[in-house]
């Protein structure tokens, strides 16, 4: 180590800041505020999660109550039709057309249910991510 390196090392070691109580107090206050904000955020998150879960359950119940049996019955019929069309179709083109027609008939109800489930899921996911 050269003389200059030693001088530099000594200069750095001597450059020490005196304790400033005001600095510590500022950080204490900042930490207290931070912890309070964290508690509020956690509470809001819990409430949001509960609300999203309740919305999802209610939505599922409403969809099932309103359309459940009808949708399930329609889906069964459409499946049977599709199956029949596949078995009896004379050509590949006709089979495909019949299948598409069959699926299209029940698609509105199936999409409605899917959209409700996706919307509920998205609300729940967003709440857990905040």
């Amino acid at each position: 180590m050269t003389d200059f390196d030693a001088l530099l090392k000594r200069s750095f070691a001597e450059a020490h800041e005196p304790v400033d109580d005001g600095f510590t107090v500022k950080i204490e206050h900042a930490v207290v505020r931070r912890e309070a904000a964290l508690k509020i955020r956690n509470l809001a998150q819990t409430v949001g999660l509960a609300a999203a879960g309740a919305t999802l359950l209610y939505g599922g119940y409403a969809v099932y109550g309103g359309f459940g049996q009808e949708v399930l019955g329609a889906a069964g019929i459409e499946l049977a039709r599709a199956h029949g069309a596949l078995n009896s179709a004379p050509t590949v083109g006709a089979t495909a057309q019949d299948v598409l027609q069959s699926i299209g008939t029940g698609m509105t109800q199936i999409m409605l249910m899917t959209a409700a489930a996706l919307a509920g899921g998205a609300v729940l996911y967003r709440t857990t991510q905040d």
Binding site: F12, A15, V32
Partner: protein
């Protein structure tokens, strides 16, 4: 903030304070801040040119440390861990200020301190004033190398700068300091 449990904060070891702070004991963290603030503020004052900015960054670094206390694996690692937070906070602040940190890669000529009145008169100026003559990048690398005793590799790890750049800044910064600090 009231002391929690039977921990006597004034007499507790730093390791005990760190463990208590990891358990979200705010009083223990305050005591830790009290003990470490001199070092942290000095470190940041050497990197920044403004004392007020350095103190703001030190405060920000301590608050980040409070948020991340659970990430600290062992109390013995605290100095290095906190230093990394302080350096990252400094670098982020510089980027926020749109400081030209890209100049790190440049080969800018040494500032013309030879022409300054002090240098011309061969006057010995103190470390702080000498550091103020360096570029941000040089000051950062020199402070970490000479002030904190970090190797070039450790500086690369903390700052994310290329090894060649770090070496170059340490060399150039040290050379400038030599000319400014050594009595003629």
């Amino acid at each position: 903030m009231a002391a929690r449990g039977s921990l006597n904060l004034a007499e507790a070891t730093e390791a005990a304070l760190i463990v208590a702070a990891q358990a979200r004991n705010q009083a223990a963290f305050s005591e830790l801040v009290k003990r470490r603030q001199g070092w942290a503020r000095a470190l940041l004052r050497r990197m920044c040119q403004s004392h007020a900015e350095a103190d703001d960054l030190a405060q920000e670094a301590f608050i980040k440390a409070w948020d991340k206390m659970s990430d600290l694996e062992t109390p013995a690692a605290f100095p290095g861990w906190f230093r990394r937070i302080a350096v990252t906070t400094f670098l982020m602040a510089k980027r926020r200020q749109k400081a030209v940190f890209e100049e790190i890669d440049d080969a800018s000529p040494i500032a013309s301190e030879e022409s300054s009145p002090e240098a011309a008169a061969g006057a010995k100026i103190d470390l702080e004033k000498a550091l103020a003559r360096l570029s941000d990048a040089e000051r950062l690398c020199v402070t970490l190398n000479h002030g904190e005793g970090l190797s070039h590799g450790e500086i690369v790890e903390i700052t994310g700068l290329p090894l060649g750049t770090v070496k170059s800044h340490v060399l150039r910064g040290t050379d400038k300091l030599r000319r400014l600090l050594e009595p003629q």
